[in-house]
């Protein structure tokens, strides 16, 4: 797999990164070498190998369904950049 110029531009746009068009070729080379590394790893035969998501052989502990948290809104919102009427304010997420 390799990326062309327009794909690099699209990725930059989605990531909200402003890039210089003169640098696109070098970005494309760097990204492609990462993808080549992934290809190399993909080529390894892993048949019969269990995925190792957790290094320990432990299982999930369960919690009783009881309310243990009280309202801490004031303290929790003290670190937020903007709040109003109890809501966290963020840049508008839809047009």
């Amino acid at each position: 797999m390799s990326l062309d110029r327009s794909q690099v531009e699209q990725i930059a746009h989605l990531a909200r990164l402003q890039i210089d068009s003169a640098d696109i070729d070098s970005y494309s080379d760097s990204l492609n070498s990462i993808l080549n590394l992934v290809d190399q790893m993909q080529a390894v035969n892993t048949e019969g190998v269990e995925p190792l998501a957790h290094p320990l052989d432990a299982v999930q502990r369960l919690r009783a369904d009881e309310v243990t948290e009280t309202n801490q809104r004031e303290a929790l919102q003290a670190v937020a950049p903007a709040t109003e009427e109890g809501l966290f304010l963020v840049p508008k997420v839809i047009e």
Partner: protein
């Protein structure tokens, strides 16, 4: 060309746990914004999730109720998703190893189509918070009270072939989860939300067409309307030489249209991976069997019992068993009134009418099953007629009180005293010379219908309190005597 519609549903069911799936914050509906969003829900650094056993139990209950295999090992994964309504930057969900494996439910539409709908699987996940987009100086307001509320997402196979089947399937899932008591079933509050995957293909074709996904539909009626609208759009598009694009669309109930929701701004890549903060969930047979022991009677079984035990029609049994609170209410009324058909008529008729008009859930009905049962007893023993009973019911609804109290206070007791009725009948006949002449002139087999006029007069004179059976008998006797 004849087209076949293919539909699969993804239904999100909010579990009625007291607390969130991974934190001890309350899930109660309607709290002030962010008063039920703790450090875990806000994804503050250093916090860790701990899994709620009750959410696990409820998911297993659901799996057992839909004949599914239960995952003795299930794994939580991270679905990366970058919106402020889940501040972690991912949704904790299940993918490769869900808690509930393949199962099925049997459905029947109003027009009698029966079908077995297979479930692909059902998994546990967390709900997101709410974004409010108005009135915050160009910013969005975020309420995270709902973030972390446990959901079971139920994914069907594309087995439904009409919008009616899709609605019947959703109703069946609703009946199951409310009967199990794992969800309050309140669709208006978002406790059950539905995404519909819709495609069409030429009849007889095996290959599936390109599907679109209709998001977040929150009523059974809208499921039907949204699918019908989308199917019409797809047919027009293809017959005009176009192609369906795989995309998410939003149904607008006001305009009755679907429109594309996602822009080209997005490239969804959820990059699922096992959540390192949560270990595999392991359960054994004894855990599952202990839950099986606690399962209540399920809607299908209850419907069959209503038919065999109460002699109800299939239709009545289906309606009454579709919602567990209604089925419980009905059974309570039957116990008191001793009349299964009369009870069914009142629960599905007058009571349902008042509940609908006032947008009230049967669980919050101002008229309790005890009150309604007491009212029906008074119809059965001829204290009041069915018509007067409707008046009593109305008063019961608006002012409360038992049937006996209302009948007494309003003086609605039926007149069964034959002497009193005869007197009124005599007066009515004496004051209706013209109608009496018409009655006499009529063919004997037409006279039955003509009694209606006199009946109305007697009821008017008695304020509806005369026993209708007794009045008919006396009227007939007296009028026919005049004809000889």
């Amino acid at each position: 060309m004849e087209w076949e519609v293919v539909i699969g549903l993804e239904i999100h069911v909010q579990l009625s746990t007291k607390t969130k799936i991974f934190s001890g914050a309350s899930t109660a509906f309607g709290a002030e914004p962010n008063t039920q969003a703790c450090a875990v829900d806000l994804a503050l650094p250093g916090t860790l999730p701990v899994f709620n056993e009750n959410a696990l139990r409820m998911a297993v209950m659901f799996g057992l109720a839909v004949n599914a295999e239960i995952g003795k090992r299930s794994v939580f994964e991270r679905k990366n998703y970058f919106y402020p309504d889940l501040p972690k930057g991912y949704q904790t969900t299940q993918l490769a190893e869900p808690i509930v494996g393949p199962g099925f439910v049997d459905i029947e539409t109003d027009d009698g189509v029966q079908r077995r709908v297979r479930l692909h699987h059902a998994h546990l996940e967390e709900d997101a918070g709410k974004s409010l987009h108005e009135d915050f100086h160009g910013m969005s307001g975020i309420d995270l009270n709902r973030a972390g509320t446990p959901l079971v997402e139920i994914v069907s196979e594309p087995d439904m072939r009409s919008s009616k089947e899709a609605a019947a399937y959703a109703r069946k899932i609703h009946a199951i989860v409310t009967t199990l008591g794992i969800c309050d079933g309140n669709m208006a509050e978002g406790s059950m939300r539905c995404d519909c995957n819709v495609s069409i293909r030429p009849k007889g074709e095996e290959k599936l067409g390109t599907r679109t996904e209709l998001k977040n539909i929150n009523s059974f009626r809208f499921i039907e309307r949204a699918i019908d609208t989308e199917v019409a759009r797809q047919i027009d598009l293809i017959e005009d030489g176009g192609t369906v694009v795989q995309e998410t669309r939003l149904y607008d109930p006001d305009k009755n249209e679907t429109r594309s929701m996602r822009s080209k701004e997005e490239a969804n890549d959820y990059r699922y991976f096992p959540c390192p903060d949560l270990l595999p969930v392991i359960i054994d047979d004894s855990y599952i069997e202990a839950i099986r022991e606690t399962l209540p009677e399920l809607p299908d079984a209850r419907r069959e019992r209503f038919i065999s035990e109460y002699n109800l029609s299939e239709y009545d049994a289906g309606v009454l068993s579709a919602y567990s609170a209604q089925a419980d209410y009905y059974e309570q009324v039957v116990k008191l009134s001793g009349d299964t058909k009369l009870s069914a008529n009142w629960v599905m008729g007058e009571l349902a009418k008042f509940l609908n008009q006032n947008d009230t859930d049967i669980k919050d009905s101002p008229v309790s099953a005890e009150q309604l049962g007491g009212l029906l007893v008074r119809i059965k023993d001829n204290t009041i007629s069915g018509n007067i009973a409707k008046k009593v019911f109305e008063l019961m609804w608006s002012k409360g009180g038992t049937a006996d109290e209302i009948i007494e206070a309003e003086g609605l007791k039926q007149v069964t005293d034959t002497g009193a009725i005869e007197k009124i009948v005599d007066e009515v006949i004496a004051n209706a010379e013209k109608q009496v002449e018409q009655y006499k002139a009529a063919e004997p087999d037409k006279r039955g219908k003509m009694i209606g006029f006199f009946m109305g007069q007697v009821m008017k004179a008695t304020g509806g309190k005369a026993n209708p059976g007794a009045v008919t008998g006396i009227l007939k006797q007296k009028l026919d005597a005049l004809c000889d």
